[in-house]
């Protein structure tokens, strides 16, 4: 169907519309799990810090 890569990227003159649609979708779909990962790591880090603080308090109390 496509005779050359440049023909593929030109999308029959609709390059702007086709690649903006697919590009933004790819961007959003890639960013979303990365942001969730950041959120997950942040809560794990907070929980670990809280535990460390508690351990520290116990040791001081002894």
């Amino acid at each position: 169907m496509w005779n050359s890569p440049s023909e593929f990227f030109a999308m029959g003159g609709y390059a702007l519309y086709v690649w903006s649609s697919f590009g933004i979708c790819a961007l959003v779909l890639l960013l979303e799990p990365l942001l969730v990962r950041v959120r997950f790591k942040a809560i794990v880090r907070r929980l670990k810090q809280e535990q460390l603080a508690e351990q520290f308090d116990k040791e001081i109390g002894k």
């Binding site: 999308m11 029959g12 003159g13 609709y14 519309y17 933004i24 979708c25 959003v28 907070r46 670990k48």
Partner: protein, 256 residues
């Protein structure tokens, strides 16, 4: 504890047990890679068909290929809303924490799907209709769906007590369900610029088989993606909300 749960122990999977965040958390963690694999398999097959197998459209040329992301994103935006409202409703009826957490985890991905539906629609409308946006019934009701998602998220964020936020946002989600059939049937009920349904359950589709297959594969890809991301987010939400439960403290053991 085991005494209480005995009545359902003969089942293959004990669903009542799974409704507790502490048992669901590790199960969700094990399922995530599986759904990522499915996402990539369906995505690769769907994109291959979208760009290299499906024939060029007689009227719209190559520009029609936006359909392969526009229609699946629109389907998912409506489907996720129904699932989110169902979880929110279950949380309201059975007062289960995990149901409300599932609804909470689904809202952002649903909002993104609604946004992508509108965005790709604009980039399809411009070359074909000559306008990025028109106040058409289909487009307007989809925009309202995006606002419903954002309203759900904002309402949750504005209430400090998570259990009260669960109840208030569940009611908002359930009231908003009325918008989903409005979106779906808008092209029938009103005279819209937007074309009618591309795929109908009752009629044979009026499009090439390969085009239909491409759309279905892309929809499956987004579906599996949604499950994977939702499971990831619900795990973060569980840790945030159950931070002071013993099982969380034990599973996040600090090496000292």
């Amino acid at each position: 504890m085991s005494q209480v749960n005995n009545f359902s122990n003969h089942r293959l999977i004990n669903w009542f047990k799974l409704s507790s965040p502490s048992t669901f958390y590790p199960v969700a963690g094990k399922l995530i890679p599986f759904f990522w694999v499915l996402t990539f398999v369906f995505g690769a097959a769907g994109l291959w068909i979208s760009f290299f197998v499906a024939p060029v459209d007689a009227v719209q040329g190559q520009g029609y290929r936006i359909i392969f992301i526009h229609v699946p994103a629109s389907w998912m935006s409506m489907f996720i809303y129904l699932v989110m409202a169902a979880w929110a409703g279950l949380g309201l009826i059975f007062n289960t924490r995990l149901s409300a957490m599932m609804a909470q985890a689904l809202a952002p991905i649903g909002a993104w799907m609604a946004f992508l539906s509108l965005w790709t629609g604009a980039f399809w409308g411009k070359p074909m209709w000559g306008a990025w946006w028109v106040w058409d019934a289909r487009l307007t009701s989809e925009l309202i769906l995006l606002f419903l998602y954002l309203g759900f998220i904002a309402l949750r964020a504005s209430i400090d007590d998570p259990r009260r936020a669960d109840k208030a946002s569940a009611i908002l989600a359930l009231v908003g369900v009325v918008n989903v059939p409005i979106i779906y049937f808008s092209v029938k009920w009103w005279n819209t610029l937007h074309q009618g349904a591309s795929v109908s359950l009752t009629k044979a589709p009026a499009m090439a088989q390969t085009m239909l297959l491409g759309m279905l594969l892309m929809a499956l890809c987004l579906w599996m993606y949604t499950v994977a991301v939702t499971l990831m987010r619900v795990r973060a939400i569980i840790l945030e909300r159950e931070a002071h439960a013993d099982w969380v403290r034990q599973s996040i053991e600090v090496k000292s």
